[in-house]
Symmetry: C2
Subunit: 191 residues, 2 copies
């Protein structure tokens, strides 16, 4: 998606450890009008009209998922990272390794909110090694729900998490895939 | 707001430790169409047209703030809970005690995204002792920004965090204030 690639080039910054910061419009300050354009773009690639739920992971996926949910007219569910005493039994759980936090975290989702009757569209803002996405796919699988597709805003192509998910046969569409990010700037995969 | 009080009565559950769960529409599964009604309600109480930024705290405030941001046509910023190595210098920081997690957490916000020129509308989904709200007010103060108002969906009136914020002169509007929650059901403050 050209508008997203342009925005990454204009506003993105590269930190040591291949960390790409787009926190001016995606995951700290959030331009929700622009997120609505991303939501419209996902809808060109998947039959969203069949979806009954949007699923994402806290925290930074929530804004994009909320805008998708509002635009598509279906509820969203965000899987939580286990830590709160606010959540009791009846949970799907999936252990993942968080690249951001450099440790294992458990994604949890109440069984009440994703069931075998659901048709789930998974959304996330960012994918590096794809661990969070694997956790969300695991939750959809545990629920016995149908997967409509996976929409990701920005994929770090050089970390290959997305490629492995595609190789496993999942319908993943990332709106921008960064192949290279260094002092010379960003390079994107042709799609 | 009657529609919100009704929804709490119909779907809310009360757990030991005065924990109120509304995770079917507000903070796990999220009914974003309903959140848009809450956003419209806030706009009756505050001059949102003057606001330049919505500010909330991760994680569960993000969905409501995203919908407010989209409806009002201004960006949102979510303060993060310090833990990630994804955030460098140039930060506002405010230490708060999290009722949910029973420990101190530091709210952080990059100085880039809230400045002295901003007019900030603070939004959160839930208020118990008001600690997170204090942290957000602290960030607005550190930035030297103007506070337009504070909109909260559900306030636990019996924990008095909101009352103290009002006593301190801040313009806080909670759309439902729960005064009592026990086996007989919910009671709300008349507003």
């Amino acid at each position: 998606m050209e508008a997203l690639e342009q925005r990454i080039c204009q506003e993105g910054r590269i930190l040591p450890g291949h960390i790409i910061k787009v926190d001016g419009f995606l995951n700290h300050q959030v331009d929700t009008k622009f997120l609505a354009e991303l939501a419209d773009e996902f809808a060109k690639h998947f039959d969203i009209s069949r979806a009954t739920k949007i699923l994402t992971a806290e925290a930074s996926g929530i804004a994009l998922a909320a805008i998708c949910s509002y635009k598509y007219g279906i509820p969203m569910v965000f899987a939580k990272k286990a830590k709160s005493d606010n959540i009791e039994g009846g949970l799907y759980m999936s252990e993942i390794f968080s690249y951001t936090y450099k440790k294992k975290v458990t994604l949890i989702c109440a069984k009440d909110w994703i069931t075998a009757d659901d048709k789930v569209f998974i959304v996330d803002d960012f994918m590096a090694n794809g661990e969070a996405m694997r956790g969300l796919l695991d939750i959809v699988g545990q629920a016995g729900a149908e997967l409509i597709g996976i929409g990701c805003a920005i994929e770090k192509g050089f970390q290959h998490g997305g490629d492995k998910i595609r190789e496993d046969g999942y319908p993943l569409k990332s709106l921008a895939i960064i192949e290279k990010a260094d002092e010379t700037g960003f390079e994107f995969r042709k799609q």
